[in-house]
Amino acid sequence: MLAEAGTNKIVEALSELNVQTIVHIPKVGPFDFSISNAVIYMWASAVIVFLFFFIVARRLKKEPDGLQIVAEILLNFATGHLTGQLTEKGKKYYYLILTIFSYILVTNLVGLIPKPDALLPYTPTANINVTFGMAIVIFFITQYQGFHRHGVRGYLKSWLTPPGVPKLMRAPLNAIFFVVHFMGEFFKPLSLSVRLFGNTIAGHVIILVMLGLLLQYASAIVIIPAGLFVVIMLAFEVFVAFIQAYIFSLLSVVYIETAINSSH
């Protein structure tokens, strides 16, 4: 969908971003339920995350070994550093945040592993639908917490001007504040999803364009710098995978926490 394969090698390399249908299932209305490589890698990463924590939880020891050390680092990260801002009230979201963090990390890393032709590589987080799906969950939790804890009046009141504004200016400022906050609530999930999607796909596009350059102009002048760039960029992508998983979960925590403590 993003680019058709043609004679140009760069365009051909970019076609790797297309979704490859593995098992074709007829469309139901506008919905396409075909099993594509994106879906398979999503399931695979979900299974990896599940199995990892399941296996660790089944054989917990006093003196942690191998896997348990990794799991404890992740858990400490999620419950301590990451959700350090979530107060006692938001404690039940520790595990949601931990799951989101591990899932994004695994999906980002899964896309970097070379794979056979039958199942082309695809990073699920390089698809706006996946990231928006996760962001919309955070959106509903945020709104639920806001309305549940402060009531409809209390929560809507927190969108208006803070106390201390002169009486004369309160009415026009209230209108502006309400519109800005109302729009802001909808832009939160949008920016959350576009950030993750953009970061992932931008890295892949750069790598693919460089690989396309290698294939298109097969001469030493291009191959040496472009090849080096691809290697460095791939290493950087591993770093970005961690940073983006961290940022997505951190901002989710910030949003939920703002809704929980939204009274002025």
Binding site: L2, S191, R195, G198, A202, L250, L251
Partner: protein, 77 residues
């Protein structure tokens, strides 16, 4: 100039312009973070968290432009 040519031109120029703002922002952010850590090394954990949040918010601006550029390149035919 026909529509696809204009769209390609707009994607390239727009992407280039969009990196200016976040570039300045991330530069300032990194500089001040380094300064803050040098001044108070024991607070480096908190400073780093704030740095990463700011980094994410700043670079998201360039990514919005990137998404628009992709739309311009591949949707306008």
């Amino acid at each position: 100039m026909d529509a696809p040519t204009a769209a390609r031109l707009a994607a390239g120029i727009g992407m280039g312009l969009a990196t200016i703002g976040p570039g300045i922002g991330i530069g300032l952010l990194t500089g001040h973070t380094a300064e803050a850590i040098a001044r108070q090394p024991e607070a480096s954990g908190d400073i780093r968290t704030a740095f990463i949040i700011g980094l994410a918010l700043a670079e998201a601006l360039a990514l919005y432009a990137f998404v628009i550029a992709i739309i311009l390149l591949f949707v306008v035919k």
